[in-house]
Subunit: 458 residues, 2 copies
Amino acid sequence: MSRNTTLHADTDAPPITAELARFVATHPSRGWSDAVEHEAHRTFVNWLGCAIGGSRHEATDAALAAVQMLEPSAQAAVLGRRERVDMAGAALVNGIASHVFDFDDTHLRTIIHPAGPVASAALALAERRGSSGRVLVDSIVLGIDVACRMGNVIYPQHYDRGWHITGSTGMLGAAAACARLLGLDAHRTTMALGIAASQPVGLREQFGTMTKPLHPGAAARAGLVSALLASRGFTASPRALEAPRGFAQVVSTKFDWSEATDALGERFEIAFNTYKPFACGIVIHPTIDAAVQLRARGVRAEAIDRVELLVHPLVLELTGKKEPADGLQAKFSVYHGFAAGLIVGRAGEDEFADALVRRDDVVALRRRVQATASDAIDEASADVTVWLRDGRREHVFVEHAIGSLQRPMQDTDLAAKFAALVEPVLGAGGVEPLLESGWSLAQAADVDALVARAVPAL
Amino acid sequence: MSRNTTLHADTDAPPITAELARFVATHPSRGWSDAVEHEAHRTFVNWLGCAIGGSRHEATDAALAAVQMLEPSAQAAVLGRRERVDMAGAALVNGIASHVFDFDDTHLRTIIHPAGPVASAALALAERRGSSGRVLVDSIVLGIDVACRMGNVIYPQHYDRGWHITGSTGMLGAAAACARLLGLDAHRTTMALGIAASQPVGLREQFGTMTKPLHPGAAARAGLVSALLASRGFTASPRALEAPRGFAQVVSTKFDWSEATDALGERFEIAFNTYKPFACGIVIHPTIDAAVQLRARGVRAEAIDRVELLVHPLVLELTGKKEPADGLQAKFSVYHGFAAGLIVGRAGEDEFADALVRRDDVVALRRRVQATASDAIDEASADVTVWLRDGRREHVFVEHAIGSLQRPMQDTDLAAKFAALVEPVLGAGGVEPLLESGWSLAQAADVDALVARAVPAL
């Protein structure tokens, strides 16, 4: 009772909880550039594909089985599946599914994967409420803005401390999006953010387990329920984000308040979202990109004598596994990344299946790759030279891999990624109609048609 | 991707997640002294009274209304009410109700209020599963042991940092209790604790808002769902509590691992649980206790000329409000505490109602109290001298207030507190049968009769 110590305290923090809430509650619908509007659709399509692709993963199965123990009502769809659960359960399970392949979007400055918490909560609520696509897009843009801005406030010290920032800011983004969908006023939106502030989710120690994808799912759920509570008059501190014993000062030692509100309503963080072209850690991406480019030039595995790969030392430190035994190990093998890229021409989840990792031609090519670490080359780059059996030589230098801000995935790339994720779940005929619903989301009177296309036919 | 910094890291922490899980999974039923067994029943009865007493608070109303938006199935009772919701919703709402009066139990060493998260989750799951009272008591003893031991590991730095420790350790206690109720083996219990470790709930900034009682409720819910997930094969890090980027090292700068496992299975933290006799901050308790003692000696308000109150300076710093305008302010008035104790003979939630706070005789007595701060007197004590109009003098020195470990509430005190909380909700006839069910919990074949007595008759 007598303890008043705080390790560090900024008692003069500006009222960012209230300012962000007012922004979320009052910013005009579609109050941004065409580029931001387009990026919102790209974010949604990428998230939708990832969630459907991950819908049959054992983590998704286990989470859905647990939710079923609550005998939920059938308010909202589990994407890619026939089951329906209450909207909070749907936010949880879809959030898990969308992150389980580590294939979702990235706000590079904070390494937040923002769509998982935000879109998973927003779509479930929108389905239940019969919201228009327009309102849903608005809520996703604003929710992602809140999550990523709060990430900017506390990153990197927050992440360094051990928080999985996607889940530990995602509940704020989800609460903001759901408050907007519910039409809450500025005061109740402040309460929603405040309630969510008490529920950060995610420890980095969980990486490599099912609890990693739980983080965006549980954050989606917490944010959605926070908004529901606020809509019913539940209260929280109006300074929950910035007070000395509020969110930012409790979970980080850095809190740059200006990041919360600088150019608010002018600069949108969703504009800086990126999408993974390959289902593995980002340091392997330049090498896979180079392999795909070599394949496009006509280089075939059987014609290769040897491969010289020049990469930053960190690449080998993190992904230097020479002889991966299975798909999980292959995600940490730049050698496998090269082989998959050259032989298959892509590196989606299928290219990290155990069978492919063990296939003779893949193993043989992997063994012909020599990787050398060099401080002279950037983490984001790869320098690849291939000596062919006929004596010729091919060289590719990738400065920025496909999927980076400098070389973003084109819409056609996203469509191809979407198809690869969705087809195994919904069949070939299911891809195009759903993709069309995704690209035209803002025009939809409600989300029913999209949701109907996002689950298997009876 | 390249960042490997940690601010502080103990990479050699013992495997406390697995050790606590093995303990929870394998410790024999009723494997403790009669005193511990009795304290478990006292903890349960006190929690049950608080939850029913708080069942009509506006925070409980708002939370239940939000849960109803999910159209939950009717798996478990909302205590003190007719509504039934799914077990996770019941854990949430009952956890909120039990803490909303700030009248629940306290593990003094960590100021954790352990029953809120643990019993709220455990009773909801026990009702759904048809568990025996014996299994429920076992789960509460073990769950509270896990939460308070983890509190001992990280307190006080964790609390000083700004965490509301009841919710930020409570999800571990709830997960442990529910894992025990579900009969999970040591491995799956490890997973349940690991899943829960990613979901700490609670910022001290929320004190004074409805989100404060949300903390035990949301922790109960998170712990219950973590155990359900583990029961379905969901995985987490087996070192989620102790790893460098695991729970303890992320949320505190102190981690005394020995606290987790020293005398595990011999010393039970529930043995150190205490119960508030008065519905206000603990520093006022010695003064109220003195007033109640004076009343018992026959001292009446109208006979009092003046009162001299000698207390530790902190008491006036925290509760020095001389003229409280309403019930909320009265909780921060040692003057009101004395007046209520002397005039009514108790200081439950009713004695902090606006009407009583403003009653003429209460106001008049309050104004006759002179409080003096002195460093010579302990925080836990109060020295009270009353000068009567007839010239006589009465003096009481309270070294340790009723409700402290040194002067614990007797079972009869707890029964009186229970009656005062429950009667307004269930009626006079509802108190004794339910109290009997509480005291005999371990003998019950299932919890159905108790639950039926804990809700209003149709």
